[in-house]
């Protein structure tokens, strides 16, 4: 008996099993409505050199509807599945390794953040006119279900380009991006033929405020802190949600990802951000590093709230020459790994500009 015969035997056994329990395994496709049938005939009529088999169309159309509506195929497995990648290597840090961070012995980042704040404050102001356009490389952690019903996860390298338009509508375009080299650095996507299909999402007017970052307070750190925490549900949410854990630094860090992921952050605001986080405490210095796209940076880390399977830290890489955030990574504690942690995802901002409509 070959594989096809064995498959048919299994199918027959399943049929017998279902019938034995009172189920009708056949799903008789419903007949098409007359207007649908007429529409199909019209679509196919201009091709006279082929015979339109209306009966086949009826059966196939109805069966497709039935297949999609009743069965669904979550996580279908095939060779067409999206390209995925393995775990990226961790970055190397000049001051404190991840083992020290997760052991709670990494030094405070407050002094370094104040120095970076001064660097940002010393930058020349740029134009504040236009709508934000941000491009980034990111590796997203994606989960799906395999053929045994088990959850399987993998990284999806993505290149993203977003526009927040003047009316608050949002356009976000993603495509499959290039991979990493052996050092964990992004391969230039222009040299990578594996870049995938572009997919674009549009969100309607009013989805985001294009001036949000431009209008945040830059000279009143207390007001800025309040505005940032309000974005995360308010100070009470950040302090009371996790008993025994001060969630304010984490909340401030999370807003950074939204700010830099969608908006152009003026240098004056960057300076105020680093001052605010430095005054808050709860940020740890990992030190000099090189981010995924080869830029020199200074890494700081903020611990995420407890409750995950393993402790997780959000690592932020800041430019020592401009004081702007370059990229961020999510790192899980992994005592068995030489680096002491594994990367759970990252995003590197490669372009941030205001464009005129």
């Amino acid at each position: 008996m070959n594989d096809l015969q064995r498959a048919q035997a299994e199918a027959d056994a399943i049929t017998a099993l279902l019938v034995g329990h009172g189920y009708d395994p056949a799903d008789a496709p419903a007949a098409l409505e007359p207007q649908d049938e007429a529409l199909l005939a019209r679509i196919l009529a201009p091709r006279p050199h082929r015979t339109v088999r209306r009966g086949w169309l009826q059966v196939a159309s109805a069966a497709c509807v039935a297949l999609l509506a009743l069965v669904g195929v979550l996580g279908v497995q095939s060779k067409q599945s999206p390209a995925v990648a393995g775990i990226p290597p961790t970055l190397r840090f000049g001051t404190a390794p991840l083992t020290q961070l997760f052991a709670g012995t990494a030094p405070s980042a407050s002094d370094e953040l104040r120095r970076l704040s001064a660097v940002a404050a010393a930058q020349l102001p740029t134009s504040a006119v236009g709508s934000p356009h941000v491009e980034s490389y990111a590796w997203w952690w994606a989960s799906s279900t395999d053929e045994n019903g088990l959850t399987v996860s993998a990284f999806e390298p993505v290149f993203r380009s977003s526009f927040v338009h003047a009316d608050g509508s949002v356009t976000s375009t993603e495509d499959r991006s290039s991979g990493l080299d052996v050092n964990g650095k992004v391969v230039d996507r222009r040299a990578d033929a594996a870049a995938g299909t572009v997919a674009t999402d549009h969100f309607p007017a009013g989805t985001m405020d294009p001036r949000w970052a431009l209008d945040l307070p830059r000279h009143d750190d207390a007001a800025l802190r309040t505005a940032l925490l309000d974005r995360m549900g308010g100070e009470k949410f950040c302090t009371a949600t996790w008993p025994g854990f001060d969630g304010v630094p984490y909340c401030l860090g999370s807003v950074l990802q939204e700010l830099y992921g969608w908006h152009v952050v003026p240098s004056g605001l960057a300076a105020a951000l680093w001052r605010t986080i430095a005054d808050e405490g709860g940020a740890y210095l990992l030190g000099p590093t090189v981010d995924r796209v080869g830029r020199q940076g200074v890494a700081i880390a903020i611990m995420e709230p407890p409750g995950l399977e393993v402790p997780r830290a959000d690592v932020y890489v800041i430019s020592p020459t401009t004081g702007q955030l370059l990229s961020w990574e999510l790192v899980d504690e992994a005592p068995g790994e030489p680096a002491g942690g594994t990367v759970n995802g990252f995003e590197a901002i490669t372009l941030s500009e205001l464009v005129r409509p």
Binding site: D3, L4, A7, Q8, E10, A11, A13, I14, L17, L18, H21, Y23, D24, P25, A26, D27, L40, I43, L44, R47, R50, R53, W56, V59, A60, S61, A63, C64, V65, A66, L67, L68, A69, L70, V71, G72, V73, L74, G75, V76, Q77, S78, K79, Q80, S81, P82, A142, S144, T145, D146, E147, N148, G149, S172, A199, D201, F203, T207, M208, R231
Partner: protein, 145 residues
């Protein structure tokens, strides 16, 4: 599970492809049917990729936008074979549906799923084993009621 609102779109996209590539469609009716199912299979994959992307974006957009509810419960009835199928893992469910309910030959079903006949067989075997357990439990529940 594909939501109800997207089913019409996927079917429409599937038959648009069939129409556009009519000259490439196999002339044999059975192969032609399998060909149409394979197009639908790929459309559904694209739908899931788009859905994953949408979920990521929704998370990044924050609380301003709410997730759309899953309409699976509206689609799957309680007392038909679909309710039983819904209990199977997706790959087994699809393999079983194509061969047992739709009536494709194993060869055509393997073509639709883009897998080897041996992989199809193993999915069907696992589906049968799982169904046997599920159906036995249902009988037991009805007896104890």
């Amino acid at each position: 599970m594909v939501d109800h609102a997207s089913v019409d779109d996927i079917v429409a996209e599937t038959f648009t492809v069939v129409w556009q590539r009519w000259l490439d469609v196999p002339t044999d009716p059975d192969r032609r049917r399998a060909w149409a199912f394979r197009v639908a299979h790929h459309r559904v994959q694209h739908w899931y990729e788009a859905k994953q992307r949408e979920v990521r974006l929704q998370r990044r957009l924050g609380p301003a936008r709410a997730d759309v509810a899953d309409h699976a419960v509206d689609v799957v009835g309680e007392h038909d074979v679909a309710a039983v199928l819904a209990l199977l893992p997706p790959a087994e469910r699809e393999a079983m549906w194509l061969v047992v309910s739709v009536g494709l030959s194993p060869k055509d079903a393997a073509f639709v799923l883009d897998c080897a006949p041996s992989a199809l067989t193993s999915r069907l075997t696992r589906a049968r084993q799982r169904l046997a357990v599920v159906l036995a439990e249902r009988v037991e529940q009805e007896v104890t009621r």
